[in-house]
């Protein structure tokens, strides 16, 4: 199997955390994984984009027109990275308000900022919430909920319970919306 994911967001939202979780999930499921993340200049509020390539790959970066999935923790960052999606199979899962511009891809969006403002979940768990949304929506996503839970626990057992709760909140909110 070959599956390529672009994770986009802004500094401080925890995009790098998702790269780690997804690479642990790959290891759990005995799949090859090559990821890359932004460091250094991406201060809080600046654009951050990370890549995860699952399967038989040699180059860490994702080229344009290649990604199967774009997880955007912020709507505009989805648009900024849209060229990385495959025209045939690209899917977007993004955190964006309802009146967001439409694009020519299978798009699933949820207004997670609104939910965080209403204190439905803590904003620092936005990344995990969006991973839950992804699990509920992307039929081709290469991991099961159980594998992601296991990866989150391996990553940091201390806060795993809290994160897994938010993960399920993402899944349930999405299913309720369907």
């Amino acid at each position: 199997m070959k599956y390529q994911i672009v994770i986009a967001g802004i500094g401080g939202q925890g995009a790098v955390f998702l790269v780690k979780v997804l690479s642990i999930a790959s290891a759990i499921t005995h799949q090859k994984c090559l990821g890359t993340e932004n460091h250094g200049m991406s201060q809080r509020g600046g654009s951050v984009s990370c890549y995860v390539k699952i399967g038989d790959f040699y180059a860490p970066a994702i080229d344009e027109g290649q990604a199967d999935l774009l997880i955007a923790l912020e709507g505009n960052e989805a648009l900024r990275n849209i060229q990385y999606l495959s025209k045939e199979r690209g899917v977007i899962v993004m955190n964006a308000p309802k009146n967001f511009p439409k694009v020519d891809f299978e798009t699933h969006s949820i207004d997670a900022f609104k939910k965080a403002k209403a204190k439905e979940f803590p904003i620092d768990a936005l990344n995990v919430y969006m991973l839950g949304v992804t699990l509920a929506l992307d039929a081709h996503f290469p991991f099961t909920c159980k594998e992601i839970e296991e990866a989150i626990t391996m990553m940091n057992a201390k806060v795993a319970e809290k994160n897994i709760t938010v993960l399920h909140q993402g899944i349930n909110d999405t299913k309720a919306k369907k």
């Binding site: 290891a27 890359t36 600046g46 849209i82």
Partner: protein, 603 residues
């Protein structure tokens, strides 16, 4: 044992497994996590090893080099720009060689993700005449650390490892050794004055000849051990791709995905190359194309009319590789028809620009703001340096950035060349210790008149908050006393999240400048908002909002103050993003000309 490792973690683990117990370096993205991870592994497993940040790369290199010539296995870490600083020592050490082993790790940054220049450290290895290994993935980086140390020991030469950002910051499942122990390798310096204390010309001339012999031996080793075994896999196609480091991954992926037929030969040690043996391979091919990042290091060592690459303008000359660039090069060399398999349309509407910016609540923003408020732009020149505060560019509070330490020496220069303007230099504490002290001494020595503001947050914030000399030994190393040691006064300000006070401090410096005959030097005692120990109790807890009736959308705040939570809402008024606001409250009193920022509540 299989582990998920980031490239720099894999390198750190490789050092431990290669028996290295002495690591020294200076932080610089993308290299910084190597020494940090080595320290983590060491502390977690209670290993006996030295791993410390040095004041700069030259110092770090020399510490590790001394360890190596007394027989230990050592390593120095830095980024490509840092290698410029260490180059003086490297050039000489390359002649002299060593006894134990030393790996010089210089991380490159093709694509300028966090660097002033692209540079290719492999070319520096060539310049210094030392062998260089070029890994393409974290796994290879791990393997090459071990190979490099063994190789360094065998040939008594410094060996360079040159990972690029896409290796250092890539993450993959690596197969690594199980054991985690370091056998402390005992150093024992043996006096040998003709070697270690060689004085030109006779001693160095002999060492220069030895260096050339050594290179010939390494070339032969490169062929026998690294290249020749791979030639058995060549299939006799008409095109040969010579690759190095990450270039290999892009070529291999593009070739297999698009079913392009060519032989690929990856050169793990791109310098020194066994030129004649490689060129003998060319006989069977129509074209040989070199894919390497960033400079034509391999290409410059070979010659053939069949050779295509950067020198022949078939391969791009700047920026990092991509599969699209591989296809473009193949098309230019008439190997394939032009292909757009890796090109896609961007979103064509305008999106909010997000240039790198200082964190919300960062004291640097206030200092830059206060400088431009007091020392007016038309009458001033703002020189600055390398660190988070460089992002003051967004506030138009910086006119020049050259390299570390240059803010002070260039302030000296401008004070001579343009004396009617007030030069205001800014530099961080880590950069000051790195290469600011010497130019300050120079400025005092020659009575140059300018304002120097040292932004002291007691950490190397930009690269991930590594420790600084002051932080580790606060009672001994102190910036104020260094300045006073130059025989001049040190103006000190303990930063508060109250812009009025910061502006007042700048006014006091302006007063001092009027009568000064030498540099006016200040240290602002700050903190980094991400630094848990130091920022504790000093961060604000005020939620600020915008009074829409007062906001006239004059742009003043986002142009001059540039705090990430500030943005325009649908009504065309300023709005503060509550998720980004740090609650410092600095913007309340000075920033808005119509006083539209108001305190909402305590957090």
């Amino acid at each position: 044992m299989k582990q998920i490792l980031m490239g720099n973690e894999a390198i750190a683990l490789g050092l431990i497994h290669a028996g290295v117990d002495m690591v020294s370096g200076y932080p610089g993205t993308p290299s910084s996590e190597i020494l940090g991870n080595f320290q983590k592994f060491r502390d977690k497993n209670k290993l006996e090893a030295y791993a410390q940040w040095a004041t700069n790369e030259k110092v770090g290199f020399e510490v590790a080099y001394a360890g190596a010539i007394s027989g230990k296995r050592t390593c120095a870490t830095m980024k490509q720009v840092g290698l410029n600083v260490a180059s003086d020592a490297l050039m000489s050490a390359s002649y002299i060689g060593l006894k134990g082993a030393m790996l010089l790790i210089s991380c490159d940054d093709p694509g300028f993700y966090s660097s002033q220049t692209e540079q290719d450290s492999r070319s520096f290895a060539k310049f210094a005449r030392i062998p260089v290994l070029d890994p393409s993935t974290p796994q290879e980086a791990y393997d090459m650390v071990k190979l490099g140390i063994e190789f360094s020991h065998e040939f008594e030469s410094i060996v360079m490892l040159r990972p690029v950002m896409r290796v250092s910051h890539a993450r993959e499942i690596c197969d690594v050794d199980d054991a985690l122990h370091v056998k402390a390798n005992q150093g024992n310096f043996e006096r040998n004055i003709p070697r270690w204390g060689a004085v030109p010309p006779a001693g160095r001339f002999r060492q220069g000849l030895e260096q050339i012999d050594r290179l010939e031996a390494i070339k032969a080793w490169n062929w026998d051990h690294l290249i020749k075994p791979k030639t058995h896999a060549l299939k006799g196609e008409t095109i040969l791709c010579l690759t190095s480091g990450t270039g290999d991954g892009y070529v291999r992926e593009a070739m297999s995905e698009l079913e392009i037929k060519a032989d690929i030969l990856k050169l793990d040690m791109p310098y020194p190359l066994p030129k004649e043996k490689l060129e003998a391979l060319f006989v069977n091919y129509d074209k040989i194309i070199v894919f390497e990042e960033s400079f034509p290091c391999i290409e410059e060592q070979l010659s053939s009319v069949k050779l295509y690459g950067k020198l022949t303008k078939h391969v791009h000359l700047i920026d990092e590789f991509s599969k699209d660039k591989v296809l473009a090069a193949l098309a230019k060399a008439d190997v394939i028809a032009p292909s757009h398999a890796y090109q896609s349309e961007k979103y064509d509407q305008e999106l909010p620009k997000r240039p790198p910016n200082m964190c919300p609540g960062c004291p640097h923003r206030d200092v830059h703001y206060a400088i431009t408020k007091v020392f007016k732009k038309k009458k001033s020149i703002y020189t600055s340096d390398i660190g988070c505060y460089t992002l003051g560019l967004n506030q138009a509070a910086i006119d020049t950035i050259l390299c570390m330490g240059a803010s002070i020496s260039m302030a000296s220069g401008f004070s001579i060349s343009d004396p009617d303007k007030t030069v205001v230099a800014t530099i961080g504490d880590s950069t000051f210790m790195h290469s600011g002290v010497a130019p300050l001494i120079n400025a005092v020595y020659q009575n140059h008149k300018f304002v120097l503001i040292i932004l002291d947050n007691s950490t190397t914030a930009m690269t991930g908050r590594q420790t600084t000399p002051e932080r580790t030994n606060p009672n001994q190393i102190d910036i104020k006393r260094i300045i006073e040691g130059c025989g001049i006064a040190c103006h000190e300000y303990v930063y508060e999240q109250d812009l009025t006070k910061t502006v007042d401090f700048m006014k006091s410096l302006q007063e001092a400048y009027k009568t000064a005959t030498s540099p006016v030097v200040a240290v602002v005692r700050e903190f980094c908002v991400l630094d848990k120990d130091n920022a504790l109790g000093r961060l604000g807890n005020v939620v600020v909002e915008v009074d829409e009736d007062k906001c006239v959308a004059c742009d003043s705040c986002i142009t001059n103050y540039k705090c990430p939570p500030m943005h325009y809402n649908d009504a065309g008024k300023m709005e503060i993003d509550p998720f980004l606001c740090a609650g410092c409250g600095s913007c309340l009193d000075v920033v808005c000309p119509t006083d539209a920022f108001v305190k909402k509540e305590e957090k």
